[in-house]
């Protein structure tokens, strides 16, 4: 429970902080435990898995938890796609600057795909222009198509690109892309497009919209479909336009005091509700998901240090290398992406490790980040010490 540890709040509580607990599922479970039990009993394994952030198991269990888990997995892939687009280009830029693009390599084409994933056609064109003259003719053709903004399926990589786009428009994969995407001279280049495509495959907006009440909101950081105002705890951590991790930490600590105060005020609730609150760590789970979501928002706003601070305050460090009920998988994407955006590509590898079992596609991102780590250190001298 938060309560015993959070009573001594030294920081003043800003007036605009809104923990939003009363409007959501935490209060609902506390006040109406029977309704919660009825909801959960209809698909016990699925809800248990969703509570534990075991998305795969929740999807396999079917029913409303599967819809929710699929939606969360889709969002996870969206976050990974954003990270991958950035990380691939960073790796390619560093490769070009530190070691030079290998003669005839398809590296610029893969970097161009990564730029297109980020919606940057101009960057894609610039990458395509860097293709070496010694590259195979089909790569030359693809480079010309990228530069012209019209990628066809006339080349193997172009066909793969088109296939990804087809999936995102609701069609089946027309061409199976090789994995890794390119193998050349003992070198492997991985596909930066797999994440957005996987997200598209998981997207099921009608199924999500079909949920209501607890089925729509349970264990979520927001209250979708509940009719409540959109401003919730997620947004309450905002500190303005500057990347201000200390300011964020203070707001989180203040919010923690509010959460603890709310918890203290619930002492007269039904014992069943209090028991659920405690045993399922509902407030902590809500807090960690809200902070993870806020971290995502900070990344989108170009504030990686605040994103990192939010995610670290969410992280249950006791199980800091594992997806748990308090460590949703997206938390690790936020931490890894923030690391890459602050020059800590090596540390990003630590953060991606827990996702290996959740999203197998992450292995290509890990290898690409590994290349980046090596390239960044290429002109440096390593240091080692005892202890």
């Amino acid at each position: 429970m938060l309560l015993p540890l959070l009573l001594a709040c030294a920081d003043p509580v800003p007036e605009d902080l809104d923990t939003d607990l009363e409007r959501g599922w935490v209060a609902s479970i506390l006040r109406e435990p029977d309704q919660f039990s009825a909801t959960v009993d209809a698909n016990r394994d699925g809800w248990i898995a969703l509570h534990a952030n075991n998305l795969d198991a929740a999807i396999n269990a079917g029913g409303p938890p599967a819809v929710r888990a699929q939606h969360e997995l889709e969002q996870l892939y969206v976050a990974l796609s954003a990270m991958a687009s950035h990380a691939w280009q960073e790796a390619a830029e560093t490769w070009a600057a530190r070691a030079g693009i290998p003669a005839g390599s398809a590296l610029p084409l893969v970097a161009a795909f990564a730029a297109l994933e980020g919606g940057d056609k101009e960057a894609a064109r610039l990458w395509a222009e860097k293709l070496d003259e010694s590259a195979p003719p089909e790569h030359q053709q693809l480079a010309a198509e990228i530069a012209a903004g019209d990628i066809t399926d006339q080349t193997p990589l172009g066909a793969c690109y088109r296939s990804h786009l087809a999936v995102r428009q609701g069609d089946a994969m027309s061409t199976d892309c090789p994995s890794p995407l390119v193998e050349e001279d003992g070198r492997t280049l991985h596909d930066p497009m797999v994440f957005a495509t996987r997200a598209a495959q998981l997207r099921a907006p009608e199924a999500v919209a079909g949920l209501s009440g607890l089925e729509a909101t349970l264990f979520s950081a927001r209250w979708p479909g509940s009719g409540s105002p959109p401003v919730a705890l997620v947004d309450s951590f905002a500190t303005g336009e500057h990347d201000d991790p200390d300011g964020l930490r203070q707001r989180v600590r203040a919010a923690d005091a509010l959460l603890a105060r709310w918890e203290k005020q619930q002492r007269d609730a039904a014992p069943e509700g209090l028991s659920l609150l405690d045993e399922l760590k509902l407030i902590e789970g809500y807090r960690s998901r809200a902070l993870a979501e806020h971290g995502r928002q900070r990344l989108l706003a170009g504030q990686p240090r605040s994103a990192q601070a939010a995610a670290l305050m969410a992280l249950d460090a006791e199980a800091g290398r594992a997806v748990t009920a308090l460590n949703p998988p997206v938390l690790f994407v936020v931490l890894a992406d923030a690391d890459v955006r602050t020059g800590r590509s090596r540390e990003a590898l630590d953060m991606l490790a827990p996702l290996a079992d959740v999203t197998p596609e992450v292995s290509g991102l890990v290898e690409t980040l590994g290349d980046l780590v090596v390239l960044e250190g290429m002109t440096r001298l390593g240091d080692s010490k005892e202890n």
């Binding site: 460090a317 540390e347 980040l369 010490k385």
Partner: protein, 503 residues
């Protein structure tokens, strides 16, 4: 000293000082504060507060000027001219100049100095002073980014008689640098007090720093919770839960790519025989050793699992006493009626040396002794203080087996530990294939060639077993919330400490 008195003493120290200090704990205090001989993380962290290099990392880990102001690289990449920052003073008021840069490089390169950091300047052929604040460095091979290699700390030439510097030079107890903090005093309780260097180019947000040696990790946690410390550099996994829930504490990842190991002395019989080393690797229950420390990832080789160089296809030596016994028998050992192993009437015995001041290492060593004794290996334990450790391990290589840990920066360059000419190759390990792969890794232009080479090294080193690779711990630093604007360097920790504020 008991718990209560530790806390009270620290409060008294805090109260007596005119400035509120930033107090942090190390498991063991630095034995030497001289950047020429930095071998431990605690020394490296303290050096980061006291000294500066020509270049350093900015907050995004890109190279940025520190004592250098700018540089011009020759077109042939064979030399660089450095313009040094003017108006910089050492802690004793002496002005910093080109003479100090040339002196530092020559002292590090000197064969008589035997600097443990000599490898950091080996690539510099010559250092010339052009004027008071201009230096030219020449190289044996082209250097496209020499600034990336000029992070070593600059020493004050005027404090030394020559470029031959002994480990015992009085400078180690009276270090003078240009860094944001300067030594104030060594205290009777073993702590070290620093105060702000007022002539530093920007005003540090912290007035004073106090480093305390606290080997007992539980004491460390208690001191932080009761606000008798502002920071614990490294928290054991078993203590994370308690600190994570404390509202006045923030946890920051501080991984340092570190791993624990048992290191054999291959130059001492019978540990030169791979079969004996492999046998011991299988007699040891690594998970049992880890239990008192907490949770961690077990390793099969000389990298942490998240490393680009970790070879995930290589299995670790599993705890398998039967296989270990078979390996010993194959090496000519027989079991006596009492269950002890012997060969030619000589018992299989070893002396384990470990750090006296590292509480967690002591627990591991005692458990290891118990495990090996149960399997018929005679074990003697020798706990050494830091100075004795440096003498026995770094100097004389006088050990059978050591228990220790290595920390690596993000390059995870293991050459010094495993190359036959490596300066930190305590074990005496020699394998030509590994030497060649390490050279490939160092010179490769393609990052994937480097990854492949080091993954091969992982495989070979695991089989050769000069070390038994134990584990890496999920590592955090804990900081009181009174410390603001904290950004921790992933290896040196204090690189940006001048920007921290204490409220």
């Amino acid at each position: 000293m008991n718990w209560h008195s530790v806390a009270v003493a620290s409060l008294l120290v805090a109260g007596a000082a005119t400035a509120k200090p930033f107090r942090y704990a190390e498991d063991q205090a630095p034995a030497i504060v001289n950047p020429l001989f930095t071998t431990t993380m605690s020394e490296a962290r303290l050096s980061e507060l006291l000294f500066e290099g020509l270049f350093t990392d900015d907050a995004d880990l890109s190279t940025t000027p520190a004592l250098a102001e700018r540089f011009e690289l020759a077109d042939d990449l064979m030399s660089v001219e450095l313009w040094l920052r003017k108006g910089v003073q050492f802690h004793d008021g002496h002005p910093f100049s080109a003479e100090d840069v040339v002196f530092t490089i020559e002292a590090m390169k000197s064969d008589q100095t035997l600097s443990t950091e000599a490898g950091r300047v080996r690539w510099i052929q010559q250092a010339e002073q052009l004027d008071s604040h201009r230096v030219r460095l020449s190289f044996a091979e082209p250097q496209p980014h020499p600034e990336d290699r000029l992070f070593f700390k600059i020493l004050p030439a005027h404090r030394f008689r020559s470029t031959t510097v002994k480990r015992t030079d009085p400078f180690r107890a009276n270090p003078i640098g240009t860094g944001p903090f300067m030594l104030e005093r060594y205290n009777e309780d073993g702590s070290i007090s620093l105060r702000r260097h007022e002539s530093y180019r920007k005003t540090a947000g912290i007035d004073a720093v106090s480093m305390r040696e606290v080997s007992d990790k539980k004491y460390q946690v208690g001191l932080l919770i009761y606000q008798s410390l502002e920071a614990l550099v490294r928290v054991l996994p078993r203590d994370i839960a308690l600190l994570d829930k404390d509202r006045n504490v923030e946890l920051y990842p501080y991984q340092t790519n570190s791993w624990w190991y048992l290191g054999f002395n291959l130059e001492r019989a019978p540990y030169g025989e791979p079969q004996v080393r492999q046998a011991i690797a299988q007699l040891v229950d690594v998970e049992g050793l880890l239990a008192p420390v907490g949770t961690g990832d077990l390793l099969s080789g000389p990298f942490v699992p998240s490393s680009p160089f970790y070879n995930h296809e290589v299995p670790r030596w599993e705890h398998n006493p039967e296989a270990g016994a078979a390996a010993l028998e194959a090496a000519g050992y027989q079991r006596t009626e009492e269950g002890a192993w012997e060969k030619g009437g000589q018992p299989l015995s070893l002396t384990i040396r470990a750090h006296k001041t590292v509480d967690s290492a002591q627990e591991v060593v005692i458990a290891l002794q118990s495990q090996l004794k149960a399997e018929g290996v005679q074990v003697r334990i020798d706990f050494l203080d830091e100075a004795a450790w440096k003498g026995a391990v770094w100097g004389d290589r006088d050990f059978d087996l050591i228990v220790s840990q290595w920390s690596f920066d993000r390059n995870e360059d293991i050459r010094e530990q495993f190359h036959s000419a490596g300066s930190r190759n305590f074990t005496g390990y020699r394998n030509e294939a590994v030497d060649a792969l390490l050279e490939t890794a160092r010179t490769a232009r393609d990052p994937q060639d480097k990854k492949r080479a080091l993954r091969d090294v992982h495989r070979i080193v695991r089989d050769d077993a000069p070390m038994v690779f134990l584990w890496t711990l999920d590592s955090y630093s804990a900081m009181g919330t009174s410390v603001r604007d904290v950004v921790i360097h992933p290896f040196y920790y204090f690189t940006w400490a001048a920007d921290w504020r204490l409220q």
